[in-house]
Amino acid sequence: MTGIIGWGAYIPHYRIKAEEIAKAQGQDADTIKSGLRIEEKSVPGIDEDSATIAVEAAKNALKRANILPTEIGAIYLGSESHPYAVKPTGTIVAQAIGMSNNYTTADLEFACKAGTAALQIIYAMVKSDMIRYGLAGGIDTAQAAPGDPLEYTAAAGGAVFILGRENIVAEIKDTVSFTSDTPDFWRRAYQKYPSHGGAFTGEPAYFKHIINATELLLKKVNKKPTDYTYAIFHQPNGKFPVRVAKKLGFNNEQILPGLLVPKIGNTYSGSSILGLAAVLDIAKPGDTILVTSYGSGAGSDSFDIEVTDQILRIRNKSQSVQDYIDNIKYIDYATYLKYTKK
């Protein structure tokens, strides 16, 4: 059995309301809010980046996992906002959480699904007994050009999971991927902000990959949508995940507990896995969870997860996702520009 032995989330303290961005962009806030189904988004402090966010999330995961940081043999972090183009985020985080020097790492990037890619790699390494424990995470401080509709959603935050073979709180039963060359969203080297294909990011990109990956997984594990207690789909806005869930045959009850985008925005590599962390915060032993990420470029990773009775033992050892959603400070657009260095 291979699975999660500890999970941790971190979302920065600052929020900006959609109204505040709409005012700056000269748009009607209500139209935006209902169109994107978003109320506000998280903003990193001026002294926060993907490394600092990963460190806080990893510390929270360590509080739950009953192991020493020195026992972790690999750390893979997915992000499209690694602080350095060359120099790994993994080494900064490993040092800051007190890991030994006997570990392997490399930084991952696959738009919004680099976090689940990390999860797959660590899952494979632990399952194959290459390492005893591994740490996988997805974090971002997503950037959007002023005036781009992405500005309403591009947010900061992340989640980290420690995987092992004993004392598992959520077993990863299986995982599949669906991947193709689809240029729906990209950022060229040395560019500050991403570019995207507008409506092209919908049907041929987000929907096609999530639906295919999810259906592949359901077929492989021989389950129906109704077999799951919870389902989490990548959340670029509040509308897409609801629509894709409906298309696949999941209902609102299954997806709402993991749908964080209206309150925190799209945390890119952290998006679907922060949803998973929020669900683990409330799940009961025996609950089943389906997670399907989406990364532009494009691909989806789908996971079949089952919660064990160990979850009750460690759940309250760290702050929950809800704690981070509740404890916030609103900032204005000028402060937002300052914090995100536009």
């Binding site: 402090g45 001026i46 510390k59 040092q95």
Partner: protein, 138 residues
């Protein structure tokens, strides 16, 4: 701070690694090689967990800035920022920023915990220097 100076202090800046005197139970942060209390030369490593309280504080409104503009000093961009002397539970005191709170929430005696943040960025081309700041315990 140069890269080598920063790198040498990473255990302290990232993990609050200090020293403890096994003879007289004194704690030191940053680490020292000789115990100032009893003169013992054989001090042991001690990791501080970063809990402490505010001894005193100020709001910095004129920061240290790099005169040539080569260093994007985060302090210069965050004014006003809260600077405090924090007394760690084990006894040593240190100087650090208090983040993620309103200025009027900060009071002498309030409990704080360490967080990991960027301290200085050496321009768009240079190294990012991380270290400890503190947050109010809520």
């Amino acid at each position: 701070m140069t890269v080598s100076k920063f790198w040498r202090n990473i255990p302290q800046y990232y993990n609050l690694i200090g020293k403890k005197c096994p003879e007289c139970n004194s704690y030191y942060f940053p680490p020292r090689d000789v115990c100032s209390q009893c003169g013992n030369h054989k001090l042991e490593e001690h990791k501080f967990d970063g809990r402490g309280e505010i001894v005193t504080f100020t709001i910095i409104r004129t920061p240290l800035m790099d005169p040539e503009g080569e260093v994007i000093d985060i302090h210069a961009q965050t004014i006003p920022y809260i600077l405090a002397i924090v007394k760690l539970e084990e006894g040593p005191k240190l100087t650090a920023e208090i983040v993620d709170c309103e200025i009027d929430e900060v009071k002498i005696g309030k409990e704080v915990g360490a967080v990991f943040r960027k301290i200085v960025e050496k321009g768009p081309h240079g190294v990012i220097q991380y270290g400890y700041k503190f947050k109010l315990v809520r």
